[in-house]
C-alpha cells in the first residue's frame, strides 16, 4: 500500500476513488466510445471500454435522438437527465445521469464524464405505490390547506366524479360550503389522525355512506401542508343492517303470533325458544322451561325420541299432557335447524288436533244422520215398487174372484205374500242401518275374516259357474276389527261381485278375494270380471238406495259397508271399467284402527 510519502499516492487515491464512488462512471470521447468505466458501471452495464455508449447503455445501434452528451460536447454545459436503459442482464434500468465536460489545455472538450445513479428500485416502488393508490377499493383524496383536491384515486373519481382542482365539499357532498365538523380541518390544525362517519352524494346523485380517516401526508411538518383522506364505503353495510333489523322484526312477530306452538331446542336438547301459542298449549310459562330438557311429564319419552332424529324432518301424531294434566291430541312437525355449515338444533311446530278430531267425529255423526234422513226420503222408492206389487196382487186376486179364475187367486196371493215380505225386510234393514251399532273390536287375523267369506260363497259361485279365488297370506298379523261388521262388509262386496258376474255376458267370470298389508295398512280387495260400471253408475254407487240390481238389491249394502269402514278409520276405493269388471278396495291404516276392547288371543 502506498502512503502519503509516496510519489504516486494521490494518483492511487484518485483511482481508488474512481472505483469506489457509489455511482456508475463512464468517460466517453467525441466518437461516443467509452474510454474508461468504473467497477460499478461494469456491474450494471457490463464492460463498455472500446464500445459505443449508446450500445452499452441502451443496446442501440445508433446515437440516441436528443443526445445530451452531444449537446455538452458542443456547449460545455453540465447536464442532468433521467434515462431509461438496459442493464447487462437485459432488464430495464432507470438512472439519473450527470454529464460533465473535461477540458484540455486548449479549451476543447475531448471527453465527457458520465456519472449515473441507478434509480430502478425507486422507480419500481414508485410504480407499486401508484398502483396501490389507484386501485385500492376505498376512496383516496389528497387535500391542500384550502381543502382543494390535488389528487384523487380511480375509485374516488369513478364514484364522485371529476375531482382535481375542486373543493372537497363540492365533490363529496355536492355542496357549496364547508361541512360543519370537517375532519380534514382538524387534521390540518393538530396534525393528528381523525375519523368521521359521513353522508355524501355520488356523481349520479345517489346517497352514499362512508367512514373517512384523515391523516397528515407529511410527517412532523408544521403546519401540515397536505392531508390524505381515506374513506371506506359503508352504504351496503348500512343496508344490510337495516335488512337485518327488518328480518329480525319479522321473525319476532311471526313467532309471537303463530297459531302453532313453536319450540326450539339447541344441540344438547335444551329448550331455547317457546312461543305464546306453545305456552298456552302446555299451560306453562316460558321461564319455567327455557334452558332445560323438555320434561317427560309434558311429552312422553317415546314420542319425544321419535321426534328427535339426527337429521331431517319428521311429522307424527301423538299426545301431550298439559301442566294441569289434560291430555291433548297433537300433530308435531319436527325439523332440523341446520344448513350445510350451521347447526343450531331442532324445532317443533305443534298443531293442536282437538278441533280437527271433533270435526271428524261431527262429520261421521252428520253423515250418519244425513243417511238416516235421506233414508226417510228415499223410502218412497222401495215402497212404491212394493205398493205396485200389492196393487198388482190385489188386482189379480180380484179379477180372479170376479171371473172365477182360480189360478189367478194363487198367482195374486203369491204376489201379495212376496211383497209383504219385502216390506218387512226393508224395515229391518233400515232399522239396522240407522241404529249405529257400537263397534266391538277384537284382534283377528285378516286372513281368517276373508277365508270365512270365501267359504260362505264358494258353493253359490260354483252353481253360477263363477270362479272364486282367495289370495291372502295366513301370516298377516292380527289387527283390531269388529268381526261381525267386517264380515258384513266383505259379504256385501263379494255378493256384489258375484251379481256383477251374473249380469255379465261372459261365460267364465272370476272373483278374486285378496288381502295384504303394505306400509302399516291393511288392504282387502274384491275384484270381479263382471259387467263393470259406467260413468253414471259410478257417480251414484254410494248413494242411498241406489241399486242396479232391480228389486234384488236393497240399495243399502254399499252404504252400510262404507259406514263400517269409516267407523274403523278406513276408506273405501273402487275402480271399474264397463264390460271388463270392477275392483273394490277397503283401506285400513293400522294407526286408525280402534283399540281392541278385550286383549283376546288372535283367533
Amino acid at each position: 500500500m502506498l502512503t502519503k510519502a509516496d510519489k504516486n499516492w494521490q494518483q492511487w487515491l484518485y483511482t481508488r476513488l474512481f472505483e469506489n464512488v457509489p455511482c456508475n462512471i463512464s468517460i466517453i470521447d467525441r466518437d461516443f466510445i467509452i474510454v474508461e468505466n468504473n467497477r460499478n458501471f461494469l456491474d450494471l452495464f457490463g464492460d463498455g471500454r472500446g464500445k459505443k455508449c449508446y450500445q452499452i447503455y441502451k443496446r442501440r445501434s445508433s446515437p440516441c435522438p436528443e443526445c445530451a452528451a452531444m449537446k455538452t460536447f458542443q456547449d460545455g454545459k453540465t447536464r442532468v437527465n433521467e434515462e431509461v436503459g438496459v442493464d447487462r442482464m437485459g432488464r430495464t434500468a432507470y438512472y439519473i445521469v450527470h454529464l460533465s465536460p473535461i477540458y484540455d489545455e486548449n479549451g476543447d472538450i475531448p471527453y465527457i464524464v458520465e456519472m449515473s445513479t441507478d434509480i430502478s428500485e425507486t422507480k419500481r416502488l414508485q410504480r407499486e405505490y401508484q398502483v396501490l393508490f389507484e386501485r385500492v377499493p376505498c376512496y383516496i383524496a389528497v387535500l391542500n390547506r384550502k381543502l382543494g383536491i390535488v389528487r384523487a384515486n380511480e375509485h374516488f373519481r369513478k364514484t364522485f366524479g371529476d375531482a382535481i382542482g375542486k373543493q372537497c365539499y363540492e365533490v363529496y357532498k355536492k355542496k357549496g360550503e364547508k361541512c360543519v365538523s370537517c375532519p380534514a380541518e382538524l387534521t390540518f390544525r393538530d396534525g393528528k389522525v381523525h375519523t368521521a362517519y359521513q353522508e355524501g352524494t355520488t356523481a349520479d346523485g345517489q346517497k352514499t355512506y362512508y367512514m373517512v380517516t384523515t391523516s397528515p401526508l407529511t410527517r412532523d411538518e408544521d403546519p401540515v401542508t397536505n392531508v390524505i383522506e381515506i374513506s371506506l364505503d359503508v352504504t351496503e353495510l348500512r343496508q344490510l343492517e337495516a335488512e337485518l333489523q327488518q328480518s329480525h322484526l319479522f321473525r319476532q312477530k311471526i313467532i309471537e303470533h303463530s297459531a302453532y306452538g313453536l319450540l326450539a331446542f339447541d344441540t344438547r336438547g335444551a329448550l331455547f325458544l317457546i312461543n305464546p301459542a306453545a305456552e298456552d298449549l302446555f299451560k306453562i310459562k316460558a321461564e319455567d322451561l327455557i334452558g332445560q330438557l323438555l320434561p317427560a311429564s309434558l311429552i312422553p319419552e317415546k314420542f319425544l325420541t321419535a321426534l328427535m332424529p339426527e337429521h331431517g324432518t319428521v311429522t307424527l301424531e301423538g299426545e301431550l299432557t298439559t301442566q294441569d294434566g289434560e291430555v291433548v291430541p297433537v300433530s308435531i312437525a319436527s325439523f332440523g335447524l341446520e344448513s350445510e355449515h350451521i347447526h343450531i338444533g331442532r324445532a317443533f311446530f305443534i298443531h293442536d288436533l282437538r278441533a280437527r278430531k271433533k270435526l271428524e267425529k261431527d262429520k261421521i255423526d252428520a253423515e250418519r244422520l244425513a243417511a238416516v234422513g235421506q233414508t226417510v226420503a228415499s223410502l218412497a222408492h222401495g215402497i212404491k215398487n212394493i205398493l205396485m206389487g200389492l196393487e198388482g196382487g190385489m188386482y189379480i186376486m180380484s179379477t180372479g174372484l170376479h171371473g172365477g179364475k182360480t189360478e189367478r187367486l194363487h198367482q195374486g196371493w203369491e204376489i201379495l205374500e212376496r211383497n209383504i215380505g219385502k216390506i218387512s225386510n226393508l224395515a229391518k234393514n233400515l232399522l239396522n242401518f240407522s241404529k249405529g251399532r257400537k263397534v266391538n273390536p277384537t284382534l283377528i287375523k285378516p286372513h281368517i275374516l276373508l277365508r270365512d267369506v270365501f267359504d260362505l260363497f264358494q258353493q253359490a259361485a260354483e252353481q253360477e259357474n263363477i270362479i272364486l279365488s282367495l289370495e291372502s297370506a295366513e301370516d298377516l298379523p292380527a289387527v283390531a276389527f269388529d268381526q261381525e261388521e267386517l264380515h258384513t262388509c266383505l259379504v256385501n262386496l263379494v255378493s256384489n261381485a258375484i251379481d256383477a258376474c251374473k249380469m255379465s255376458v261372459k261365460t267364465d267370470c272370476t272373483v278374486v278375494l285378496k288381502c295384504y298389508n303394505k306400509d302399516r295398512t291393511v288392504y282387502f280387495e274384491i275384484c270381479d270380471q263382471g259387467c263393470g260400471m259406467d260413468y253414471e253408475v259410478k257417480q251414484k254407487v254410494f248413494t242411498n238406495f241406489f241399486t242396479t240390481k232391480g228389486t234384488e238389491g236393497t240399495g243399502l249394502g254399499l252404504l252400510t259397508t262404507r259406514k263400517i269402514v269409516q267407523e274403523h278409520g278406513g276408506t273405501i276405493e273402487f275402480e271399474s271399467i264397463p264390460g271388463q269388471g270392477s275392483c273394490f278396495r277397503l283401506v285400513f291404516p293400522e294407526d286408525n284402527l280402534p283399540v281392541p276392547t278385550h286383549d283376546n288371543e288372535p283367533a
Binding site: 212404491k384 205396485m388 196393487e391 198388482g392 196382487g393 188386482y395 174372484l401 204376489i415 241406489f546
Partner: protein, 176 residues
Amino acid sequence: MNKPQDKTILVVDDEPDVITFLQTALEDVGYNVMTASNGDEALECIKQHQPDFISIDLVMPRKSGIRLIHELRRNKDWAKIPFIVVTGHARDEHYRHSLDDIIADKQFSGTKIYLEKPVKAHEFVNHVSAELGVTLTVENLAETNLKSMKNEIEGMIDATDPETLKQVLDLLKKKQ
C-alpha cells in the same frame, strides 16, 4: 173405431210383479201384450214386432229407461211410437232432472208423460187407451180397491156354502 185387439203394447219393467200386473190388466181388456225386463230385451222385442205403445220403467239394469227412450228417438220409425214412463222415481232427486229432460224435449207424444207408481189398473189402462184412441166398453174396465175387494170377499163368503169355502181353503193351504 180402434179396438184393443188390434193393438200391441210393450211393457218394460225390471220388477216381475209389476209386469204381471200391467200385462194382466191390459190383456183383460183385450190388448196384445209383449213384455221385457230391461232395455236390451225391449229393443229386441221392438225389432221383432213394432208395438203401438210402450210403457217404460225408469230404473232398470242394462239400459235404463232413459237410455231406452234416447235409443228410440234415434230411430226414425221408433221415435213415433207413443210411450209413457211408469216410475217410482218421479219425485226422486236423482231422476227428477232426467224426467225434466224428457218433458222438456218437445219430441214426446202424448199428453201425460209419466205415471207415478203405484198406479191403479184402470188408470193405467184408461191412459193407454186414450193415447191410442181406443174406446173401452164398461165391462172391460177393472177396478181394484182394497175396501171393495174386502166387501166382495165378505159378500161372496156369506153367499157361498161351507163346502165350497172348505175347498178353497184347502187349495190355498196346499199352495203355501
